[in-house]
Amino acid sequence: MADPKATLTFKLDTPPNQRWSGALPIEVRDEKLILRARGVSDDSLEVPPGRYYVTALLPNGDQSTVDGVIVEAGENKQLNIPLSDVVFPATLQTTDTLSDSLWEISRPVTQYFFRQSFAILRGNWLAEKFPGTGSQVPLKREPTTRSNLDIPFSREVVWIEIERSKRYNYFAVPVDEAGSTTAEWSLDLKTDKLTVNLDFHDGELNSLLDFVEKSKANEARSISRTLVTRPDYYATKKQSPLRATLGAYVLIRANQLDGLDEWTSNLVASHAWLPDALAVRVEYLARSGRHPEALKLLLEIPKSGTPLFRSGISYLADRAKTYASLGAEGKSGLQASAADMARLEKISQVFNDLAMALDMSLSTSALRQVPALKPE
């Protein structure tokens, strides 16, 4: 009979009101440093009896290790991992001050001197590129002098416009349902580097995005896999469509598709306002060889809008191009009408342009030096 395993449960004393909290990745290594289990804090992992190093990992590369953790067969041990030596970044705050208000009043003058102007776009600007799509809500554009903002959730997605010398840049501000996002941005006049900082005021979502931004693939996958495969773990936590979508992107990138059929289907059904729900579903279906279903949803993209995460735009451009080129050769086998193929061709062109304009230094969508997006 095999030895019964031991169970380790991890507790982290994450400081309150900081940028990161909740599910942080945990690694359990044996004395030869072989990784025996990987999971997240507050969760339990089964390991064979033995002596372990247990490490909690943070998005900035900091870590805290407890060594010499000994567990016996059948034992259920709770392990507190101290984080007192680790610095957590503060949450992002806006600077809504009197001077900001004065600046707003004097906008025409200040913009002349600062050579950049900003505006908030609300709504689905992608629909404007597809005559007849007819967005139910018109695109709205609201100039601002602020370079940081708190944006509350609305079903109209938000993009920020940065205009400089008649060249336009846009970046998406994802906002979670029932939440708000603080966005802070700058466009360097010398290097043209766009910097965007986002705070979702949700420590779990912030940390997942930061693991992605810092290219910490194993950690991001660990959180995302728990998210998709352990609904019990997340049942008592705040529901987050953005976290669910970002987790799906991470697993699709890793081509770890188990569990994503139901997951991506639910995203589309439950969060129609979020363009990325459709993007991850299309990519999942295409990866699974379910191309007619993927195409059917792909044709809905103009109604849904431009994905708020960079991968979504890249995936859609990639799939639209493949399907359009097959259609053009008349050998698609996709069972699409001539009207659908014409629409697909247009989607392919538009997303090709968007993919070419993507700022590859950001995980969220940012489009560089593109034609102005104007309300009708």
Partner: protein, 389 residues
């Protein structure tokens, strides 16, 4: 030299296609003025050398699986030929679009017989990126015909053409793609309303795509080329280093250390950061966790140690101890409070002996170092100092 075919290797093996284009026929020399007509691009003096270095690594050191086929296509510059005369006879033909199309077809055919095989693709030359999934790459006869993109190819097409399909159900499911090009967002390309590039592979709808097929781009867009005149590029340098050191985990069964797509990316980013290149590599496509090489033991890892305050007084000894509490010999010969060292990946502690400490020696908590890090491992001993008399 540029073609190795050994399909008699039993079991799974590697099929490689390596391309390096420096001497673009229709571009002005490096340093000469390049106009809008030539897309503001010049001839290069690093890609062929870089591709050759990768070819040598594959044929001499090797990857996880034995080599079955290697195809090398180079257009070296005169400057590179001076540095490495073997480039002159390294390939049967220049890296033209026609030669590339023919070689790619043979490469795919060879790679279509065993799903356990691995493919390896490396391109060095000019290119422009389209999102994380695609790029347009230029071959040496770029701008020969009236249609500007006729002598280019798209990574999207290459990668899609390597997908498993009903016609090619046994194509290698592990595929590595490396693109070593200036990924600047080329303004000229963006003037094309709908830029089309002739296909290398005819596209078919894929079956369920179970590939592990990471695609690693050398630079993010908007950054300058990282090529170095008459030397292999930084990306090439970083990649070979990643092959040799970029493992982070011992395999639970074999205890060998595996270099995977993810650990390679970490190693590449570390090299870029360490050399302050101001950019990072990007990785797209179906990344997975494919293993490209195994290392026999733990890799070398660069770390930095810092102990505060920096005036601990003499005598003072700061050591790094391994998991058996044995000090790493000669790790801090100058008794500095901040020093860099190279260690084998493993579990370590810092030990400080100083008369200024209330209790000496101080021994830090342990920490596993599985990969290199630029951030110093800092130990603040100020609260542990004896009060000043």
């Amino acid at each position: 030299m540029g073609l190795v075919v050994n399909n008699n290797v039993p079991g799974a093996g590697v099929h490689a296609l390596i391309v390096g284009v420096s001497n673009y026929l229709n571009l002005p020399d490096a340093g000469d003025t390049s106009s809008d007509e030539t897309w503001n691009l010049n001839k290069l003096s690093s890609p062929a050398l870089s591709a050759f270095k990768i070819f040598e690594f594959l044929t001499t050191v090797g990857l996880r699986l034995p080599l079955k086929t290697v195809r090398l296509l180079l257009s070296p510059s005169p400057a590179e030929l001076q540095v490495e005369p073997r480039l002159a006879n390294a390939t049967p033909t220049r890296a033209s679009r026609a030669a590339f199309t023919a070689m790619a077809a043979e490469w795919r055919k060879d790679a279509s017989n065993n799903a356990e095989d691995m493919t390896f693709f490396y391109f060095a030359g000019h290119g422009t990126q389209r999102g994380s999934e695609d790029s347009v790459l230029m071959l040496d006869d770029f701008l020969t015909s009236d249609a500007s993109l006729n002598e280019c190819f798209e990574m999207h097409n290459l990668r899609s053409g390597m997908a498993p399909t009903p016609k090619r159900p046994n194509i290698a499911l592990t595929q590595f793609y490396f693109v070593d090009a200036c990924m600047d967002r080329n303004a000229k390309l963006r003037t094309f309303l709908n830029p089309t590039v002739p296909q290398v592979f005819g596209i078919e709808l894929s079956d369920a795509d179970r590939r592990e097929a990471p695609m690693i781009f050398s630079t993010v867009d908007g950054t300058i080329a990282l090529g170095r005149s008459r030397k292999p590029s930084h990306f090439c340098q970083a990649l070979t280093q990643a092959f040799e050191r970029g493992a982070e985990e011992p395999n639970p069964v074999t205890e060998k250390w595996s270099v995977t797509a993810t650990t390679m990316k970490n190693a590449l980013d570390y090299y870029y950061d360490k050399n302050k290149l101001g950019t990072h590599v990007t990785m797209g496509s179906l990344v997975g966790s494919p293993v490209i090489r195994h290392l026999a033991g733990p890799p070398d890892v660069d770390i930095s140690v810092e102990v505060q305050p920096d005036d601990l007084g003499l005598p003072c000894a700061i050591d790094v101890l391994d998991e058996n509490s044995i000090a790493i010999a000669g790790c801090n010969p100058d008794a500095k409070t901040k020093f860099d060292l190279t260690i084998k990946a493993g579990f370590y502690r810092v030990q400080v002996n100083s008369g200024r400490l209330k209790s000496t020696p101080f021994r830090s908590k342990g920490r596993p170092f599985m990969k290199p890090t630029l951030d110093p491992w800092t130990h603040n001993l100020v609260p542990l100092l004896k009060p000043e008399s």
